[in-house]
Symmetry: C2
Subunit: 212 residues, 2 copies
């Protein structure tokens, strides 16, 4: 999972570890808190050893402009390789059981913009199936074993059940949306129109997304 996430992020732009962690936290903030360095650095090393990423030189184009005033220290900038891109494409397209658990689904979903529609659909449906199973499990417990459990435990199950139902509905909308029409956005409360707004009129000032 971490491997996939790192490869995905580095595909957008080269980064060093610290930055990677922050971007990861921003992109996956809804899923998991923040990746630990104890996972990050070993994984970076592993990816490098496998040849998916390489260390990039620090000040690349404008070699002599800035360094005088910052005197770049030992920041290690990583960059994805061609093999790394292949690896990413392979990882993002292949689905196993771990694709549908909370973290796995979150990571895959976060990179849906780089995933083909068939795979997106497969993942969304797999996730829905999994959540439906969890939901049924919770319903069973609430229906059948309620008298064995105390009120707090029961309340916990109810809250979990609620979350399941909610997520299934969310997934339904995404799936419908995905199937016919191609807009990623779920219709917000009451907005019925088919017109999907593209997100940003090109931001005027700072655009540091991709390197040209």
């Amino acid at each position: 999972m971490l491997e996939l996430a790192i490869l995905g992020l580095l595909q957008e732009s080269p980064m060093h570890g610290y930055e990677l962690r922050k971007e990861l936290a921003a992109k996956l903030g809804a899923i998991r808190a923040a990746i630990s360095y104890g996972s990050l650095y070993p994984t970076l090393r592993r990816l490098q050893a496998a040849g998916w990423i390489t260390e990039a030189a620090e000040s690349p184009a404008t070699t002599e402009e800035i360094p005088a005033l910052t005197s770049r220290r030992g920041r290690v900038v990583y960059k994805i390789t061609a093999e790394g891109k292949e690896r990413f494409a392979q990882l993002i397209a292949q689905t196993g059981p771990e694709t549908y658990d909370d973290t796995g689904f979150g990571v895959h979903f976060a990179f849906f913009a780089r995933t083909d529609q068939a795979t997106r659909l497969r993942i969304l449906e797999g996730r829905r199936r999994k959540i439906e199973e969890r939901r049924e499990g919770l319903r069973d417990v609430l229906a059948r074993a309620a008298e064995r459990l105390d009120a707090y435990t029961l309340e916990l199950q109810r809250h979990g059940l609620d979350a399941c139902e909610r997520e299934v509905r969310w997934l339904e909308e995404l799936i419908a949306n995905e199937r016919s029409g191609r807009a990623p956005t779920v219709p917000r409360t009451g907005t019925a129109g088919g017109r999907r707004e593209e997100i940003s009129p090109p931001p005027p000032g700072e655009s540091r997304k991709e390197r040209p």
Copy 2:
């Protein structure tokens, strides 16, 4: 966390590993899928080594009734010790940062029936604080970094934000409920009364809860 959960469950009744796993899945089904044996058995051994639990003999009172027809195999039944109960009491009352993450909170909450009210309140408020922070983080990303992210990532954040807001509201109700009055149940949609119903009229047929 596993340690706490096992100690808590064994406090209700002695069990063997397999049973423990199933009960755990039932009690924490809203939180986590099912504990792996690769965690369970080593932990059981650790707890036994520490003296918190002991192996109990298989057929305890009615020694010769059943064994003829089932010929009890190597099931290892574990039982909590007096020290184990102390340990549980200590673990359930002490709160660290890990008490407020998803799993930690879930486990603590599942044993709220064995937790004193002050601790319950502390945990609920700590959890609320943590979720509020997560919520603010997501709002920040959605407000400030929206144009840097693709529509799918954005949708993920929105869904996460929604879940946060929902959980905060849930916690608010639980906290209010906890503060004045002592009923564990959150008022279900429209049910305004103060009367809290006790759950089960004694179920007539099969009662295989505790061992006699």
